[in-house]
Symmetry: C2
Subunit: 309 residues, 2 copies
């Protein structure tokens, strides 16, 4: 698996946020961190495949951040620049590193974002990262259905609570959904995660991927099930972007495999976990930028050994 | 692996409680349930090996409960009967089934319990289930050290808080400790479970097994690590005894394997998880009583398939 750098067509596209974050963890604080779901996703996916990033930034978006994405096989032709400031999230983590605490969210240019997709060769694999489900739906409307092979989406507690009907509409149109354990419970009202996953499958997606942070992930398919612990880390520096990197690694690997099956999804989920395990070792994309596909593959082999019995 | 029913010597012994519980779960309530850490442990272990149960009951202990243990290769010659009532725990579970809520604990005859071990052939494998760490230490004093191959212990939040020094003394003398994630954090003051496990290894035990309920288990050894998700269950009827059944299955399997290594412990932990997954499907020992070793082995094979990638 190595990204095809020469081809212009991207088999995978993501719509997500591109952000300048302000983050504080028990191990340090940083005023300006390059972040956003689209950034983490596309960087993570780019280890496996060429990926198009559909997103928006403001006029203040630093050229050096754009250069970070341009290092990789990431198509930036759908990264719009609008007048105003880039989306900004300010948050911190308590010592347990489990849940991000939001201090401020400034949508800025994201509030006006309504992309028009102009792919000469539309991507068959699409990931709708965590944005307004109405926007996820409008993006899906623009993609030619016969060309789409696999669409997955992410969401969050805010949309489950405030835009439930819109979310249910777009959920019914996708092949897979990636959400965390708390969101799965919130969406279904069911505490048992296996049951919650089964209920979510009933809402449309054939595959349900439930992320459990330090406890790993569960994957449900049609009478199929996969449980994966988390790759063991004795220190997590900054959990920001873990979920988006997981999704990026997963979708990148799935796209590169060319096969849509429960087995290929299992492997993709394991790769996603490993990519996320690198992300959380430093602020922002700093750790992923130091990581090679070879290191990811080596950690996957070790991960496999750590879980075999 | 099948228990040797004809031999009188038990290669494994457990000291633990034998109880009459009163349990309420979202799925039902029962006034009198045969329980206790020693009962669950020995029943679970008996699928793999002959096991001696060191414990105490009161004169009110029902003959039918004793018969349940006697169905199996469980040596009851160290199950003392003292004047008074049998240990009794009354508790309930909220809808999330994660933590037991204790309503009442009546030690009764357990308060006077100070066993004298009279094994003609002392068991090389010993499990000190969750009782007062001073009692765990006194039991260990009575076992001939040259004969002991492997000793493991369990404990709980109550002893960590109230008898920390005693617990640390006995921890330093055992080969393995089994505790849950909350207890590992409480004992060490460390949130990260990998770090917590490493700290606990520094207290003495070569192997640390951290139970995470619906999220599975972690095992730490000397530069060795194993992560196992939980066997997926879409309904948990009564979680009482899950941890003790896990330990019983684990120790029974390890004893039967005849080998003390990280690899044999990994397999034993997987078997322990599977035995516990049967326990929680009904009140008390009702589900285990309907289960065969063959069913346990079949579920282990399925479990292995559900975790391979």
């Amino acid at each position: 698996m190595s990204p095809n750098l020469s081809s212009e067509a991207s088999p995978l596209a993501v719509i997500g946020t591109v952000a300048v974050d302000q983050i504080k963890t028990p191990f340090g604080a940083r005023e300006r961190v390059f972040g956003g779901s689209g950034s983490y996703f596309s960087y993570a996916a780019s280890f496996f495949t060429r990926v198009a990033l559909v997103g928006v930034v403001g006029e203040d978006f630093p050229g050096e951040y754009r250069d970070i994405l341009a290092e990789r096989p990431i198509d930036l032709s759908h990264l719009e620049v609008l007048p105003g400031k880039t989306f900004c999230w300010k948050g911190f983590y308590e010592h347990d590193m489990n849940a991000a605490q939001t201090l401020e969210t400034h949508l800025n240019v994201l509030a006006e974002f309504n992309p028009t997709l102009r792919f000469s060769s539309p991507p068959p694999y699409v990931f709708l990262a965590n944005v307004d489900p109405d926007l996820q739906g409008r993006v899906l409307d623009q993609l030619e259905k016969p060309r789409l092979r696999f669409v997955a989406l992410d969401t969050m507690n805010y949309w489950i609570a405030s835009k439930r009907e819109s979310l249910l509409r777009v959920l019914a149109r996708v092949d897979a959904v990636v959400l965390n354990d708390g969101e799965a419970r919130q969406l279904t009202g069911e505490t048992n995660l296996i049951k919650a996953g089964q209920i979510i499958r009933g809402l449309g997606p054939n595959f349900v991927i439930i992320k459990k942070g330090e406890h790993g992930a569960l994957v449900l398919g049609d009478n199929q099930f996969f449980a994966l612990p988390a790759y063991p880390l004795d220190s997590v520096f900054d959990p920001t972007g873990a979920g988006d990197s997981f999704a990026g690694g997963m979708m990148g690997c799935l796209t590169a495999s060319g096969e849509i099956s429960f087995d290929s999804l299992k492997k993709a989920v394991a790769f996603g976990s490993v990519v996320a395990s690198f992300t959380v070792e430093d602020f922002g994309l700093d750790s992923l930028r130091r990581t090679s596909l070879r290191q990811i593959e080596e950690r996957l082999s070790l991960f496999r050994r750590l879980t075999l019995f």
